[in-house]
Amino acid sequence: MSRGRIGLVSLVAFGYAFLYLPVILLVIFSFNDSKLVTVWGGFSTRWYAEMFQNESLLQAAWRSLQIASINATFAVILGTLAAHVMSRYRRFRGRNGLDLLLTAPLVMPDVIIGLALLLLFVNMEQIIGWPAGRGITTITLAHITFSLAYAAIVIRARMGQLDLSLEEAAMDLGARPFTVFVRITLPLLAPALVSAWLLSFTLSLDDLVIASFVSGPGSTTLPMWIYSSVRMGVSPQVNALATLMLALVTLGVLVAGVLMHKKNA
């Protein structure tokens, strides 16, 4: 290996170490018997046991899982429509506008989206009386709004790779556009739909800022619970929770990866 190559490889190794160091430490210390982060007090699963007895944590987690799955489902439906429109309808009035509206949520700072949506919900309640108060409904609506942009990106990338001639062949054979979409396009899109659903799900499960703005009393989500317990001082239960989430996500991504690999092969 040349000197330049060694330098390059070590730079890259450093980059990956940087990405994974905190995650690995988190996992290790979730099994630490000691309450102190820096002291190893022996192997223990007590934080996991405590976590499953923590009523407020379990409620927040259940609430977040509900929000995340409803959000992901709607985001994928709307995202698929948006992706279909953007990649198949070459020309329609307002195409650039839609493109802009689909890109902006990806980079817009959370504090702005959160504040803007809260003000919208307050005004809507004043004018049409819905949504009454703020809680799970408003959080879900807010999450769908930014998740749909991410879902559209993932699905659109896949649509760009699809073989158009399959759709054209079906249409030439007399299939109606809706039938073509359901029988040809959707099955081909399946891996992207799964990725988009998982992505929307995790984005929702991860959001603290926007949810804080649009939540009401009694609608503490999991990130809000984590945030307040981190602010109040480190609780090793957070480590245990993080490890559990990490394990589930890794499992989900691996399963999705294997399924997609099979499908493509």
């Binding site: 940087f18 948006a82 504090v111 919208l120 984590i226 602010r231 890794t250």
Partner: protein, 302 residues
């Protein structure tokens, strides 16, 4: 009409366009207009906690109150200017550091054989799937005064006094670079992977040394990827709240955090709204740049 034949009945097409469009107009565009409106009102102790802009007086006269005081305050008070300046600086320097770490990563991933390439790419994306909040929190245990980093350096005898990193600006930079690194690597990778390898072969055949070929061919061709990655890091980082809040000290002024405080602690919705409007104005230029780059990228793709 040919296009109707191709895309189905007009109502189906209209529904497909209208649903996502309507959603985004209602829940994304309209809210910004409301933010703009409320940034021009005054706070009051009522529900909702801001004064209306218009009021009917004697049934026939419409009173319009526009309060520019919030913007005047932002222009006068150095605290807010410092916050904006500091946010832009943190975002800019962090984008550069992300580029320095992310470019070699993207380069090596793009140059790897397909199997290894997928694994390396997966490894960049995987942390993105785990809670951002928890990953930022993990850094607290590493960099705090009696944290792992200090314990390690002290036991190695490299330092005699623990380093104070947590609750300093350095910790904020660390957190931002860490959290946004994947957003730099992915567009760079997408760009580098599309590059035509025959260009480099031609350069090598003509006697160019690898470093020269990189500087003259790879680097200029990857500028769109560099720009996209930088914007994807810079724009959200300017408005970041969680990182300065958890890792920065009480004096780490950033706009996102300031908006949060104005809103949640001071209950000053109009001032928070005007901060949001100024922040939006600041981000329009980098956003338009990103949008342009993307459109060109997609046009060359499809």
């Amino acid at each position: 009409m040919a296009s109707e034949n191709h895309h189905g009945p007009a109502w189906g097409r209209r529904l497909a366009i209208g649903l996502p469009y309507g959603w985004l107009v209602l829940f994304f565009l309209l809210p910004f207009l409301i933010v703009l409106r409320i940034s021009l009102s005054e706070p009051q102790l009522a529900q909702p906690p801001y004064t209306p802009l218009t009021e009917w007086v004697d049934d026939n006269n419409l009173d319009v109150h526009i309060n520019l005081g919030n913007y005047a305050l932002l222009g006068e008070d150095e605290l807010y200017q410092d916050a904006f300046f500091n946010s832009v600086r943190v975002a800019f320097i962090s984008s550069l550091v992300c580029l320095l770490i992310g470019y070699p990563m993207a380069y090596v991933i793009a140059a790897s054989p397909p199997r290894r390439r997928n694994i390396l790419l997966m490894l960049v994306i995987l942390p993105f799937w785990t809670s951002f909040l928890i990953r930022v929190y993990a850094w607290i245990g590493i960099i705090k005064t009696n944290g792992l980093l200090n314990e390690l350096l002290l036991s190695l005898g490299l330092i005699t006094e623990p380093l104070h990193i947590l609750y300093t600006p350095l910790a904020v930079y660390l957190g931002v670079v860490y959290s946004y690194l994947p957003f730099m690597v992915l567009p760079l990778y997408a760009n580098l992977a599309r590059m035509d390898p025959t260009l480099l072969e031609a350069a090598a055949d003509l006697g160019a040394r690898p470093i020269k070929a990189f500087l003259r061919i790879t680097l200029p061709l990857s500028i769109p990827g560099i720009l996209a990655g930088t914007m994807l890091v810079f724009i959200p980082a300017v408005g970041e709240f969680v990182i300065p809040d958890l890792l920065g000290g009480p004096d780490s002024l950033m706009v996102g955090r300031m908006m949060w405080t104005e809103f949640f602690s001071n209950k000053d919705w109009p001032l928070a709204s005007s901060l949001a409007i100024v922040l939006l104005g600041l981000l329009v230029v980098p956003f338009v740049a990103l949008q342009r780059w993307q459109r060109r990228y997609e046009d060359s793709d499809e």
